[in-house]
Structures are given as C-alpha cells and as structure tokens.
Point group: C2
Chain length 331, copies 2
C-alpha cells in the first residue's frame, strides 16, 4: 500500500491530526513542527489521498466535463482550456462523451455525481426541465445553453448569425438556406430564429434539417440544397458547412461561384478547407475557462443547492471572411 498519513506521523513523531493540519491548515502549526512534518512527508513521498479526504470533507476536487462529441473539433480546445483552468485551481477533470444522446448525457451526470463537485454540460442535448432536476442533485454549469438559476456561459450566436446573414445580404443574395443542427440544441434554435428575423423581407430563408452536426450530414444535405435553388447557405457549424461544400463540389456546383457557404465556430478546419471557409469565430477556449470558473464559484457558494447565485457569461463572436462567400451568380 502507498504511504499514508500515519506513516508520516510516525516519521515526524507527531499525531496524524498534526500531519493533516500541516497540509490543510499550516498556519495553525508551530513553524518548526510544520517544517518537520512537511520534511517527513517529502522524504516518504507522501501525498494526501483525495479519496479519503473527499469522504470526510464532502468535496472531491473533481469536475465532470460532458460533451456531445469529443471528436468534433469544436470541443478539444475547450476541453484543453477547461482542464488547464481546473488544474490551476487544484481540480481534476473527468471527461465523458455523450455521443449526441440526451439519455446518455443524463446518465453520465448521475454516474459522475457522487465523484465530482460539479458537472459542466457542453452543448447539452437534455431538455431544460431535466437539467433543472439534475441540478438539484449536483451543481451544474452550462455551455451553450441558458437556464434560469443555473450558471452558464453562452456564445453570442445571435450577433454572429445576424452578421453572417447581413454579409450575405450585402453580397446580394436573395435566397438563403439555413442548414440546421440538432433539434435539442439551444444554439441551433437561437440561430434559426435570428436567420429568419434578419433576412426579413430582403431574402427568403429555407431551413434544412435538423441534422447531426458532422461532415457526413452536410454531405447528404447538399443535394437538397441544389434542388432548392438557394444561392447561399449558413450552416450550424463548420463540420456541416464543410460537408456541404464537399457535397456541392461533387455535384458540380461551384463554391462560392454558384453557392456561398458560411460556417460557425472557426475551427482549424475552416482555414484548411478549400475554398477556405468564411465562418463565425467562437471563443471556445474562453468558454472552457469561464465554465470552470463559473462552476467553482457556484459550488463555493455555501447556500442551499438551488438557492445559489448563478453567474452568466456571454462571449462575443465575429465574422471571419474567407473564400467561400461571394455575390450570387448573374443568371
């Protein structure tokens, strides 16, 4: 077995409670004693067991991070930032992949609940009511969803979508399609609404979907796009947009010559795709950091769960113009 607090106590010739104090309330020890204990601990290579500590204190110093799809390039920078932030605050991160499935997502929250101080739900697919219920059990912070009383970091997609559509209108497009994301996505409904509202009388909007937000779905929707005769499409995310571009390409339709395409997220892929994808920049790393801080702040609050003060942060977006958008063809 590994070295425990008892071993250190013996080595330092003190009681185990003194060793405990040396780590959790060092100021309440005589400097001399503290040094002796810490010295002994160092010699033995002692590290307090977080498991045992969690059992008494009720705090695990762990956070659960649940995402819809780890492989979606939107998430990794966010996970990375969250992990770094958590570690800086002396927390460890559990990662879990919900596979875009609300049921799995909810089950993951329950499965992790006893082992974490809080859970971050990224792009949750669960219904609001369910989220509210879960958050009675365990502190939850949301990314890309806003629910009253629950801390959340959202991205200003309303602004993003508005700017994207205006960009299209300015180029002269009159028939626009929105390639929709998953039905359960809050972000998706925000965008859809904004697209319609912004286009107003200036352009017709066709909504295509819902779609699973990956390349294949984009590929599949391309044919439908060609049939609708739109000259521009905004997609729920870069993955879909890139799929659409590939699909269009294989249909012999030129981007942006015949059809303009805009994505959302500005993942690595946007810069790499050809034509390079015009897209909405979303500060994912900031979102990861903010989510961790919001959650920790919320859990630190010692009020009853459910009566705590939940912070909300909204992150700005901006249009990144590249090569996938142009004026509509003359014909």
């Amino acid at each position: 077995m590994a070295v425990t607090i008892k071993d250190v106590a013996r080595e330092a010739q003190v009681h185990m409670s003194t060793v405990s104090r040396a780590f959790s309330m060092p100021h309440r020890l005589r400097p001399e004693t503290r040094t002796r204990v810490l010295e002994a601990a160092r010699r033995l290579g002692y590290r307090p067991s977080r498991v045992a500590r969690a059992l008494t204190t009720g705090r695990t110093h762990n956070i659960g991070f649940i995402v819809a799809d780890i492989a979606n390039p939107f998430f990794p920078p966010m996970i990375k930032a969250a992990e770094h932030t958590a570690r800086a605050r002396d927390y460890h991160l559990f990662i879990a992949d919900a596979s875009e499935d609300p049921a799995i997502e909810a089950e993951l929250v329950d499965a992790l609940a006893k082992q974490v101080d809080g859970v971050i739900l990224c792009g949750p697919r669960i219904a609001n009511a369910k989220i509210e219920r879960l958050s009675q059990t365990i502190p939850i912070a949301l990314v890309n969803r806003k629910v009253d009383g629950i801390p959340s970091v959202t991205i200003d997609v309303v602004h993003g979508a508005r700017v994207a559509i205006r960009h299209l209108l300015d180029l002269g497009h009159k028939k626009i399609a929105y390639v929709s994301g998953p039905r359960q996505s809050w972000t998706n409904s925000q965008i859809r609404r904004t697209v319609t509202a912004t286009a107003g009388g200036q352009a017709t909007v066709t909504v295509l979907g819902p779609n699973t937000p990956n390349e294949d779905a984009g590929l599949a929707v391309a044919e439908e796009i060609s049939r609708t005769g739109v000259t521009a499409v905004l997609a729920y995310n870069d993955l879909l947009a890139i799929g659409v571009m590939e699909g269009l390409h294989s249909l012999g339709i030129d981007v942006p010559g015949d059809v303009s395409v805009i994505g959302i997220d500005d993942t690595v892929l946007a810069r790499l795709a050809r034509p390079r994808l015009t897209t909405i920049l979303v500060p994912t790393a900031d979102a990861g950091t903010a989510a961790v801080d919001l959650l920790l702040q919320y859990t630190a609050d010692d009020a009853e769960l459910g009566t705590r003060s939940a912070g909300h942060i909204s992150l700005p977006t901006k249009l990144v113009t590249r090569d996938s958008t142009a004026p509509p063809p003359r014909s």
Copy 2:
C-alpha cells in the same frame, strides 16, 4: 447529504451489509431480498459512492488519460474511443493535458496516482527510466512507446515510414527531407531511423528539426526546406505536414509540382487540406481502446506491481495516397 447505504438499509429493512451485497455480490442474496433492496434503492435514488467504495476496496474504477496536447487532432478520436471503452468496463476517465512537457506529464501521474487504478500515457515525453520508476507506484500503459515490462500499444510506424519512403522513391525522388517531431518522442526516432535506412543508397535524407508537432512549426521549417533543395518531404505528423504545405505555398513553391509532402496520422485535416495530403493512416481509435483494455488487464493481474505480465499490441498502418505527392520536377 445524498442518500447512503444506511437509508436504503432502513427502507428495505435489512442491514447495510445486505445492501452492499445487493450491489456487489447479488447472487449471494435470496432473490426476494435482493429485489426488495434494489427496489428500495431505486425508490430513494441511491447510487453507491465510488469514493467510499474506493477507500475500502483500494480500487477507484477511474483511469487517468494523459496526452501531450488535447488540441492536436490526433488525440480526440483516441480519447473518445478510450472513454467509451472505459465506460463499457464501468470505469471513468480523467483527462489531463501535459502541454508537451515531460515535467508536467510526470507531475500529472503523481497527482492522479491516488485517485486512479492506472494511467495511460499517450505519446509520453518522459524518459524511459522515469516511466519505469513511475510504474512502480501505479500501473501505467503506454501508447506510442515501448518499454520492457510495461503494457503498451504501439503503431507500426516503421512499416508506415518505409512505405512512405518507397512511395517517394518510386516516384523518382532522390533528395528527401524528414521533418522531425519532438526529441522525446519514441515514434519520432523510429521514423527517423527507418527513413534513413529505407532511402539507403537511393536517395539522400536531410533531417530537419526537432520540431514541436504543430502547424506553426511546419510553417517555420518551410524556408529551410526550400534552401535544402529537396524534392520531397515526410513530416512527423499531419499538423507539421500541413504547416509545411502552407509555408511552401507562401514561398511560391508548388506542392506537389515542385515538392511532394507526406504526413502521418491521417487526421481529418489531411482530407481537408488542399492539395489533399498523402499520409500514413494510423488507427487512433483502436489505440485508445487497446490501451484501456491492456491497462485493465494489467491491473486485474493480482501479482506484485512490477512483476505483472505486460501485454503489447502493435497496430498496423497504411499509406493513403492523395494529391500532395507526385514525381519530382524535371529540372
């Protein structure tokens, strides 16, 4: 506080040890009792505390997963597969990002050690000796590194690199560069050695690097490539290869017209980049799955740590020919 084993015991009118058995050794209970307990647990929404369980059993049912860089597209599919596999075995996954830094990586192992049953090191940057030392403390499984007595899953980059170089030789290239990865990478040294050996008398090989395996580094090395006058380059990974392609492009050098480029990994990026990148396919998801299974198998072994039987798995690679390779220019 949440509902505990005592609450269930009271509700089901049995002793807590009976409740415990209902979950961990259900067959040793009279079916009738078992049902009554499980029913009570369900009514109260009881879940055993893994923390408390870990304290008595010594098994946390957690795995630590340490990668060099979460944002490197090579890792997410691996993390995803590992997480799914772990969950299927009733394990949860801690994720940690070592930022390509050996010191952080080692520290992470220590930090997680008390909280996990084992750690998976992906593309470790730590020295072998240090890994061996760490593995005395906590079971470790390796991805992309082979150390005696430690379970590992490696990728047959030797074969991959050989095939890549042969492809280049077949096209008629006589001057080849290898854009090297991080110095501490085992994979990198494997590749470098193979490149030189395979080129043999048929082509000269220039090694450029070591480099941090990201796009920027690739971009930076492009100028050096142009100076060496090579007509083909193999890069340590897709990220570097893509950086090289971009750098070459901005130098007015055509890929593959003037210089051929081959990457390694076959990440999403390879298919998306223009020209589409010829690369070596690496089964990352399989690696994630295999690593988890190897580790669990190793930890299940009840021999002394250090005397257990370590499994090794080698995963095949293959060349994916796309548009970034062609015969050298005539001049």
